[in-house]
Symmetry: C2
Subunit: 474 residues, 2 copies
Amino acid sequence: MEYALANRNAQDYLATNEDRILEGLKEFLRIPSISTLPAHEQDMKKAAAYLASRLRELGFPVVKVIPTAGHPLVFADSDPPANNDTTATPHPLTVLIYGHYDVQPVDPLGEWETPPFEPVVREDKIYARGASDDKGPVWMHLAAIEALRETLGQLPLRFKFMIEGEEEISSPHLYTYLPEAHDELDCDVVVISDTTMYAPGIPSICSGLRGIFAGQIDISGPVHDLHSGIYGGAVANPIHVLAKLLASFHDDDGKVNIPGFYDPVRPISEAEREAWARLPFSEGELCQETGVPALAGEHGFTPLERMWGRPTLEVNGIWGGFQGEGSKTIIPSSAHAKITCRLVPDQDPAEIGRLIEKAIETMLPKSVRYRFTAMEGGHPWTTSPDHPFLQAAAAALEATFAAPPVFIRMGGSIPVVSALANQLHKPIVLLGFSLPSEKFHAPNEHFHLANMRTGMRTLVDYWLRLTAMQTKEV
Amino acid sequence: MEYALANRNAQDYLATNEDRILEGLKEFLRIPSISTLPAHEQDMKKAAAYLASRLRELGFPVVKVIPTAGHPLVFADSDPPANNDTTATPHPLTVLIYGHYDVQPVDPLGEWETPPFEPVVREDKIYARGASDDKGPVWMHLAAIEALRETLGQLPLRFKFMIEGEEEISSPHLYTYLPEAHDELDCDVVVISDTTMYAPGIPSICSGLRGIFAGQIDISGPVHDLHSGIYGGAVANPIHVLAKLLASFHDDDGKVNIPGFYDPVRPISEAEREAWARLPFSEGELCQETGVPALAGEHGFTPLERMWGRPTLEVNGIWGGFQGEGSKTIIPSSAHAKITCRLVPDQDPAEIGRLIEKAIETMLPKSVRYRFTAMEGGHPWTTSPDHPFLQAAAAALEATFAAPPVFIRMGGSIPVVSALANQLHKPIVLLGFSLPSEKFHAPNEHFHLANMRTGMRTLVDYWLRLTAMQTKEV
């Protein structure tokens, strides 16, 4: 079937069936699948079962609810499409769609205008926990596939789904599943809708995420707190030593001052710098949003470059000695700091940990002892916007949003993405339709139905473009 | 009466009456006068009354138990001695003796070998809470005065006592009493036995105490903790700013790096440096005692000089951001530090606070806000070992201990001393007979009876020397 006609038919189908699609999403949103809370274990199973039954309804011959030591994974495979259509090929493209059915807790409950698990539409937005993160986007994928199947009679590509129930708790059991399921998950492209658009009206593809290294520094001096009068002047104060150490971690230009830290850093390409410079961005608005009097950071880079394309070292917490009311005249016996680095290609979390420990060793005086603990890590991830599968997604976005899409990056880390990249070695397309303002992880989470509609249309268009690419039709 | 004879008689009296004197001290020690605990309010009154009745027995015509908003003060005045003795003058020297009858709490009670308020003598040491701090030393003063009165028939000097019940809780009501009682407390010399000897066998006079300035630094950045991935690189981290600030407070030579900080510092005299250098001191022992791998501090000074004669700036506590298990990827909204400075003459606590605030102001970037709170202060105090009243005390020590006394300083702050110095403008003699090992403030507090005996003899000798100084007899 011709691309344009198939697209028009599927778009019409989505418009005609919108109410029913939304009812199905509401049903999904009513299940309080909070992965952090043991009390919701049955709800987790219910949500997984609901997804599995929906995938079976959509004709997926392989649908599995895979138990783990935590919450179950839902896996589905549409199998190769039958070879009785002009769009079919002997080796059809395979798309793996990743998403998650678990949601964040709802505290503080009193701040919700309507109950978090009683979805309601107000001003063309659907309000419920999970509406935008990530049940709404998962549901869009199911609806787009339904539209294609109903209008084409069969699926034009091979689709696989991997929907997990532990994204909000750092996916502990996905990582044991991934290597075991290598063949099962094999595909040509991974598509994930769990990121945000840059801003309303600006359709976006995320082409990079920062990695992370987390560690803890413990400095110890005297065996117990000492009287600062009796001993002050003769014994090193662990807080002073820690402060000097942490201060040494950044130079006056805001650069991380750990020898070797930047050696593997890939520069931000000129094309990306130019593209990011064209994005609407206001330093004043960022100050207002965060409540800081002025921005700060590495000299020679714009705020977006610093947040998306440059590594950081942040002290996330510090403690030592007396923290109560008034004063206590002690030299504390120890001082502690939690640090995390956000990493960019090609920094390696383990190597960054070694560099930091080396810097500590070099810097510390003999008058204290130290311990450095590397706690966790995740690799940075980027993909080239030039890849044809990303360009096809961009074309689908432009066609449906009637606005040029932007390739953005995100400063955070989604460990699943780099894990999938490292396991499957396939392009990953982060095609998000949520907005940063939609209060995921907060009370009154919602999802703009306009973006949901345009998003579903984008997905239909995208799958048909990929189909056409196989036959060189578009 | 001739000095030597009077001294011999009084010493004999002390030896003969030792058991009775010790029984009186035990009675005093049985009163659980713990000033911190409201449950002991009646015990505080009982201890004050016990002292008052003892002073009346000693013939003090003026004995007052002065109520305060807290625990009572005991004041006594022997009045000028009658003018019928060769040692008497129309204006006899007046000695003001300060001490305290309150004691520290006794926790952990289980670690006491015998109950804290059931005094017992073992191996020539008396064990009880308050034995060495400060009931034992107060009792020595009463016994010395009894010996003189009983052997001379009257007191050779005018004695005043001011014994408070709130020393262990920072003397809150003494400071309101002092200015009101200026005339009542007028004297020629203040003598306090509430410090320690440098070491066993080394009689000591403390000729200096450090002052103190206490403050708090609060650095605030974003209005709430921020996601370190999303914002990291663009927003200043208050912990980084605080670490840089605190690191800037000391230079690489261990000197305090606050402009103006050392300007008023009086150098340690050559005589004191030489005297301190002759004291037995082991860096290795100090390391072992505190558990540090090596000493630290200001270059160019010995550890004793750094602890006694040089000012410090210590961070007593620090906190900000996440302190729990694992990691939390935030840029914290604030970071905080408690600081205290130990001060030496002629540093002024209020001025030091202003200098620190100025240094903070100069140093902090625009990307954060700060608050600096000056919390409390106490002036440093020193006295010249050359003063005749100190030299007389030294001579009395040498005569009775049969060892040359040392003039030491203490690195801590005893705010009462500088308060008395500033109120009365009279020399203060810190004549301590306790030992650092006697576990004041800890379980199994005790007082060496040998030092108590030699101490009482020293006091008798000292008063007779002061008497003789008036008549130029010695």
